[in-house]
């Protein structure tokens, strides 16, 4: 025990003397939380749109005004020919062009279907899907009004009766867990998970390999501290830093971004301890396995930084991934912790719902430590 304390003390001193590193280890996660919390949003609004009106009748202008006044679109002006539309889409100045065909007004006045065309920039499929949804919603609304008007004129229904007639089934949507559909709530709480997988491994990744490269590891090889004592002592300060970071991020998510925390605090704290152990453990394991600091950093970046965003369910849910990505997602602790965050934050649940994932996290941490213990030898590489 005293040996662990001594090793941890040595590690603490080393960290504290490196002022820049010590400062950065707190500044980086908080700063990234700030940037991503505001920036990493998927609420696509104000899509830049241009309108190509071939018809130029009162009806076509009315139709165009639907897009001009919609809060989902940002009207960039009319275009006069197809090549101009192509140029705007190519440069990314607009993401959609609405083409109103010849005879739009004439067809509608004589009670016939009228044609429009929507050209979308398809490079980012999510944005394209959302834009398409907005366009369809506007078209459905316009069609309903046209039909209601038609019923009043031709079939002689009263206006309110016609309204009901064209819209017999309403869809009442109840948004669960996130009533305002605020992506910042979901993103801010999940960011805790992503940033805790991104930053702490970088803290620990160099822990062992640095001593290997500088040769200081021979002091450990020659000392009477056991392998386990060395690893625990090594992990201690980094774990504390990461845990403090976790608390800071938690505070930021709740107070700065207003994410509601409705669940059990103790369950969340316990899960966070387990998760921070896992994420610092990943860095330590990499540090044990590789031979150079460069390799340790590259591997940490490739193995933790990218998946923390991609496969953790931060932006796209794990359920909609295919099997290959789901396997990758299951290999990282973030998926399990992400589920706990979701149930503790937005869903307002606690222990009963999270114990299974906690068990996985605990097993994960234990496995990391066991592998690290097995791979770390007190004899230098032969």
């Amino acid at each position: 025990m005293t040996r662990i304390v001594a090793l941890a003390q040595k590690e603490w001193r080393e960290i504290l003397r490196d002022r820049l590193f010590f400062a950065l280890s707190f500044v980086v996660p908080a700063l990234l939380m700030l940037l991503f919390g505001y920036g990493l949003s998927l609420d696509v609004e104000n899509i830049p749109v241009a309108i190509h009106d071939l018809d130029r009748t009162p009806q076509s202008r009315d139709y165009a005004y639907r897009f001009i006044h919609s809060r989902y679109f940002d009207f960039k002006g009319y275009v006069t020919d197809e090549s101009q539309a192509a140029e705007l889409l190519g440069r990314g100045t607009v993401r959609a062009v609405i083409v109103i065909g010849h005879g739009f007004g004439r067809e509608l006045s004589s009670d016939r279907p009228a044609h429009v065309q929507t050209l979308l920039d398809g490079t980012f499929p999510y944005r394209t899907q959302v834009t398409k949804g907005y366009v369809e919603a506007i078209n459905t609304a316009v069609t309903r009004e046209l039909l209601a008007g038609y019923m009043v004129r031709v079939k002689g229904l009263s206006p309110s009766r016609a309204q009901t007639y064209v819209d017999p089934v309403r869809l009442e949507v109840r948004y669960l867990y996130n009533q305002g559909l605020k992506s910042s709530w979901g993103v801010a709480s999940k960011l805790i998970m992503a940033l805790l997988l991104m930053c702490p491994p970088f803290l620990t990744a160099l822990g062992v390999v640095r001593e290997k490269e500088s040769g200081a590891i021979y002091n450990i090889y020659a000392s009477n501290a056991s392998r386990a004592e060395f690893l625990v002592g090594k992990l201690n300060p980094y774990f504390c830093i990461a845990f403090i970071n976790a608390m800071v991020l938690w505070g930021m998510a709740c107070f700065l971004f207003g994410a509601p925390f409705k669940g059990s605090v103790t369950a969340y704290l316990f899960a966070t301890v387990l998760y921070v152990l896992c994420s610092t453990g990943i860095g330590l394991l990499i540090s044990i396995l590789v031979g150079s600091q460069v390799a340790a950093m590259i591997i940490t970046a490739v193995v933790t930084a990218m998946p923390s965003m991609l496969y953790s369910g931060l932006l796209t849910p794990v359920a909609s991934m295919n099997w290959a990505a789901r396997v990758v997602a299951a290999v990282f602790p973030s998926m399990y912790y992400g589920r706990i965050i979701e149930s503790c934050f937005l869903k307002g649940l606690g222990w009963a719902n999270a114990w299974g994932d906690m068990l996985v996290l605990a097993g994960y941490g234990a496995a990391l430590f066991a592998v690290g213990y097995a791979m770390f030898h007190k004899r230098g590489a032969a």
């Binding site: 949003s41 998927l42 993401r95 279907p113 899907q129 017999p168 869809l171 590789v290 590259i298 869903k347």
Partner: protein, 396 residues
Amino acid sequence: MSAASLGNVLGADRAARLRVWLRRAWALTVKEYIQLFRDTILVLFMAYAFTLDIYVAGVGVNWQLNNAGLAVHDSDKTWASREVAGRFRAPYFRNEGSVSTVEEGQRLLDQGRLMVVLDFPPRFGADILRGRQTSVQMQVDTANSAIGSLATSYGGEIVGRYGLERALNVPELDMDKIHGVPFIIDETRAWYNQNQEDPWFMALAEIISNMTLLSILLPAAALAREKERGTVEQLMVSPLSPVQILAPKILAMGSVILAGLAFGVFGVIIGVFHVPVRGSLPLFFAVSALYIAFTAGIGLLIATIARNMAQVGMLTVLVFAPMIFLSGAWTPPEAMPSWMRLLMDCLPMHYMLDAGFGVLLKGQGLGELWRELLGICALGAPVLGLSLWRFRRQFG
């Protein structure tokens, strides 16, 4: 250029000096190559970053509503409710059958086993037959707001279409069969990616992200290592200028990254995902080479600031994380607040992404890409210059 013609252009004396200069720089480049390739684990991981990682990101991650679990709480049990529920179908929704109580649906939503529960009121079918307005309730898990709003949008579309069909009294909203009523018929075309294949977007975004990551980290680590071990002092007392010390690092790391990129583009992006190359591949690689060189400048700047590798690690996260995740590869710029978009315009990777998609998917040429090229150069050159200046001041 042959030695003789070089002599003619510059004069024999200056040509000889240039040859020595180049030979020295080359010797250092070879040293960087050897050092890089001796680190087997590192090389393996770079290979992984440009192949398997791209593949998994391409096939695995998608941005569409896919396979969302749905259950029905049907208090009506008529043809109408079954008809509407039946329209929530694959690939967007996965019908998990019915739940007998509202509480059961709530419990399944809580556990994350379901994403949507549809609730049909009693007399739903009877109301429709009688021409009375009725409603169906849709409970959506919006903990992930992006997917939640897609589900809502599809739900609205399905129910809206059903309503119009009932109103027109047609079995299916077939555009050719609707006559004699005013109606908007919309034809949607997604340019550049007709079938909306997610892998095209994801794989390209991922390979450019990985390229950025390695371009920052490799040169930063290479220089910081020399500083930490003190070998940089040896280089300073050798007859090498600061440019001769830094340029080989960019050249060696950059060429390896470019080779990896080519491997990934030909092997995975074209080979597996069949991304149509509508523009010129040489142009794509030329822009990438320029981008890698300038991004390496960021890495070198980090290395001049950091005293040891641990600091390099933290500084790299600080720089590359915003650079990659806010550049438009992960969230569309349209979703960002305006001040964030200003920041985005300062990220070189934003221009690289536009240029990459522009050349490969849109078939743009040099004439259309001048803005992107200008962005990459105008942001990269000062950083590269600054790192050179700092390096010279530290060790000159």
